[in-house]
Symmetry: D2
Subunit: 358 residues, 4 copies
């Protein structure tokens, strides 16, 4: 069924293949009267675009976005906003050799099983290129949650975790990795250079934090804020794990520590002593930071030959040339931010429908 749409009230539908003429998305459900131009979107795309360092794919795309509808005289009209980015640097020939082969760890096999037809060029629809449109859609969502600050960082690459004591948001924009721990930057550089030379690739863990989220967003049972965040993050290419707040570590935390105590804060407002729950209780935001972490597996398109099959049933050694991110988790940071922004904006509209003052 139709699975290329995300969101309930605020939605976006993406389309396009890695080596097709263009990629795009339609944002439907955007309220009217919101100032919007390409300049609101482009900076977010620039953060995700390829070729910005030697640690990401060298494909040369300007990722210049155009708004084709839904904006009039600088404001949204309440009608669908269609966004389009032309593909500029597709080199489909790089993929001829693996046209019929199934790269281990990639969607090649499952797409062939499911659809019979597969656009193998640059991985077609399974390419991380699709995530550009998530970032674009996220830029619109951010317009609806102006008081919320959403920031992301890479907290682990391969086996190398940051020192959380050294976490500094100011450092994140100063390096090629969105790394918040200055001392870790050279370690990752060395590690990724080695990984690339070895023809392999590396995984990563990304952390996204939303501050300033009003209490009361999210819905009980199956519309839980954390359930929607989990789905949003797990839908990003190569993501295999998601946790909220302390996540898996909560299994080992005693109940009397895990429950975040409350007290009367400034102005009498409810405040929390800790945030083990990651800003979500019963599926609804508490007003604390919403804290999300997700794991991105290593890129499966690698130069190291790996045993596999082709679609005719022959055993083959697969080696992917093309241009690939040695650690696709790096560029997942702006994508994760965008997805979190979208989930929050969508839930904000849903809260308003119920008459909540948010």
């Amino acid at each position: 069924m139709a699975s290329n749409r995300f969101g309930q009230l605020l939605t976006f539908t993406t389309w396009g293949e890695s080596h097709g003429p263009a990629i795009g998305c339609v944002v439907d459900g955007m309220p009217a009267g919101v100032p919007l131009s390409e300049a609101d979107i482009q900076p977010y795309l620039d953060r995700r675009k390829p070729g910005t360092s030697r640690f990401v794919t060298q494909r040369n795309e300007s990722d210049t976005v155009r708004i084709l509808s839904g904006v009039f005289e600088g404001q949204t009209t309440g009608h669908p906003v269609s966004l389009l980015i032309n593909n500029e640097d597709a080199r489909s020939k790089d993929y001829d050799a693996i046209k019929d082969q199934w790269r281990p760890g990639h969607a090649d096999y499952t797409y062939d099983v499911k659809y019979g037809v597969r656009d193998h060029r640059g991985s077609g629809r399974a390419s991380a290129r699709e995530t550009a449109m998530r970032v674009a859609a996220g830029a619109l969502a951010r317009k609806l949650i102006r008081s919320v600050v959403i920031r992301g960082a890479v907290v682990q690459i391969g086996p190398h975790k940051i020192n959380r004591e050294a976490f500094d948001w100011a450092e994140v924009e100063n390096n090629s990795f969105w790394c918040p721990d200055k001392a870790m930057v050279p370690v990752w550089e060395q590690f990724l250079d080695d990984t690339r030379k070895a023809g392999s690739s590396a995984g990563a863990i990304v952390e996204i934090i939303a501050s300033g989220v009003p209490a009361g967003l999210g819905e009980p049972v199956y519309g839980k804020l954390d359930a929607e965040i989990a789905s949003a993050m797990m839908s990003i290419n190569a993501v295999k794990a998601v946790e909220i707040g302390d996540g898996f570590a909560l299994a080992a935390t005693p109940g009397h520590e895990a429950a975040d105590a409350m007290y009367k804060g400034r102005d009498g407002a409810a405040e929390f002593v800790t945030n083990h729950a990651g800003g979500v209780l019963g599926g609804i935001s508490t007003g604390q930071d919403v804290v999300v972490r997700f794991a991105v597996k290593p890129t499966s398109s690698i130069l190291t030959p790996r045993p596999s099959l082709d679609k005719h049933g022959n055993e083959v050694e697969v080696m992917t040339k093309g241009r690939h991110d040695p650690c696709v988790g790096i560029r997942a940071v702006p994508v994760g931010e965008a997805m979190l922004a979208f989930v929050l904006a969508d839930q904000l509209l849903r809260a308003r429908a119920l008459g909540q003052k948010v």
Copy 2:
């Protein structure tokens, strides 16, 4: 908005509070001609029901399910199947003391912020009692995926992890914890007895495995099988983390190891050497075991007094009497199984819609 429904083609909607007259669900989208009676559902409910050991809540519920519609002469008719369980042992008075208080780590605060009105009795709608109906709905889903075997186990309670070398499915039904490692059982017994005596509670990690899943289930991009599983599991009370296959560990796995190599198996079918991806590539099942793990935080209703607020803004010490699971993760096993069954059955129908032979 309406957030009490789960699924796309095959759906269920649950309703009911912990201390209301009854709980129930409506399964809509069930194909016709499937043999069904209460006897198909009850055994799954019995696995989840309270009071089965000293390590779960002592509330005394038979959880006897009745089918009120959608079945005629022993077969489903294609119309909604309404299921109902009467609440038999509600002791609402236990909750009078905390009527206006916000238990730390519980949904009390967020429900009050969001709704203004809250049925505090036994946590109302936020009670894990809701999950009984998930188990019931899951029993119907299993009827549609007869070739799939879904099993669950607890792999960690508090800081105590099982020894994976000792994993034995045959042991799981032999103890009160769904523990697959015989040697771990006394450890957990001691740990939980100590925890209970200390007036605290414990978290857990649950693992659910589906074997016999046909390749080709799941949909790309936002309908990914793992995204839906993540949402399904994170929607279970107290769950804060979900991973598929090796999950977070994939961040530290080199790319040439992480990608599951393939070879020509018996009868020429595609086989995999390993299953780091947990049976899902590109959001679509590979035919391997689908492997899911999720973390359940410790029960937030505990006897240890904890600083908090009441809804009038007063600082209070909250202590929850009532009857609670010292480790709610234990009873999450049949719930996680049910949710995975439902996701798979729903995706099966969606695959059939596309003409897939599954």
Copy 3:
């Protein structure tokens, strides 16, 4: 797929067969803090219930509704409201003779083709009994649109149309037909008595009007207010036509007459000279009365033998005993009102989500 749910933000899911133990519905998406008890719902059910005159089915049902969830201390909690009505007077034996036969004009044939299994007793799920739960759900919807008055009337039975000059809402509650034209009442009495004696049945046209609808409800393109109303009404058993405002008559109206002129009304507000459009322009309410008419075909369960087939392929003469409405259009009045109320309430929540002050 799941087709027993209606609505987008405010939804209800109905379940139950005519001769099963009960029928019910789950209203999901109801905002919190709305005063609600059975007494708010029962009067609407009483208007639809069988046995109120000789012109409707003689089945003896009290249609006593129970609220099983979602209400606490007299107020909605924001959680699903489960409603249940026990079936009290099922006489399934009446249907034994036509168990395997397909009544002409009924869903018997299509249900058998689609499902293979069919609960023939009292038409099972295809019975108009399902509409009781629409009326119940509509009573909840009305709570959300307190300023809107929704009224319905029968404007034609068989070939006999009311005189629109004589339309008087005060008359509607004074007769068994919801007839607004006093002079037409004896004509319909005679006509329906004759129809019944002849072993036949009669069709009708129902008109529903909502006054006090705020301008700005409805959404463009595929969420048009009139499109949702059309779907809502056409989903009622036996309905085969729907029109908004002047409807089909607009085909013959010249453009300069059809377009409703505007002027500055009291307090400077926009007012309309006429209401050919039935209160909806571009799919969005104008603030005028929303005017809907729909045609209900004659009951297909009649005493006159009619040529048909049974499910074994034999040609048979079908004659339906049971107890049936000679003109099912009469009891469609409260159902149509309920459906319109639900569409409006759902659109109200959707408008609020966009920040509209409605």
Copy 4:
């Protein structure tokens, strides 16, 4: 909320304004392996495009469609198909005079009330130009229901109805009106010439018939085939009434005539004597022709000055220059066909999900 998407399993989302750079749609849910190129879509667009006779708008658009995604080597891939048509002949200045005015009968007023912002150029999103993308999407739907023949005709313009005895499908393509009654053509020509000269416009009734529909499509209760058709047709610009089969006339038909009798046909298959029900019983197709009629009100953009208001609250006389269809019902024929095709294709996929052999 997001209201620019149509369909459940097979969906399309349209975007674009009349005078924006382009219009487009995304078809999501299209099964893989369907041969598809622009040449499959263009002929349907050509039937709807403006400027084909003096009886439709004189705007000069080639309506050349481009496929931007979802097709590889001539086949659909199972991924979203993005379609785009550039706007070539927008003359926005024609609309400057009515920029702030509300044309009676148009969406101007309601859009301003709802959104505050309005793209007045050529009616922006409310333009019938949006329907081009419905036609394009319908072309894809037809690929999934190859055995179904869908045809449309205009059966009434203004007060002039065709003679149904003279109905001849072969005539439909021979005139500018999709008129199946040769004798009516000159009458409509004269009538529309007069209407245009008088600065007015005309309404119409369109009939769409689908032959070869398999029995068993459609779903009970709220997913009824006729309910979805009603919604589909009522969502078309200017449509105000929909009927299935005999529609409103069924109100006056006695029950023993209205119910379509059945007999054993060739090969023992069930056949029907008549088709008063328009091919749908209980919301599910019978295998007979699906017969739909809808009324299109006269174009509201006319040269005759009409009293109205502007958005500043002033009373004004509105006169629309621009280029408009004197009878927008004519071009509604291919649109109605497309919508019916889409509803049927979507229901076909849903039937397959249930295991039906259709």
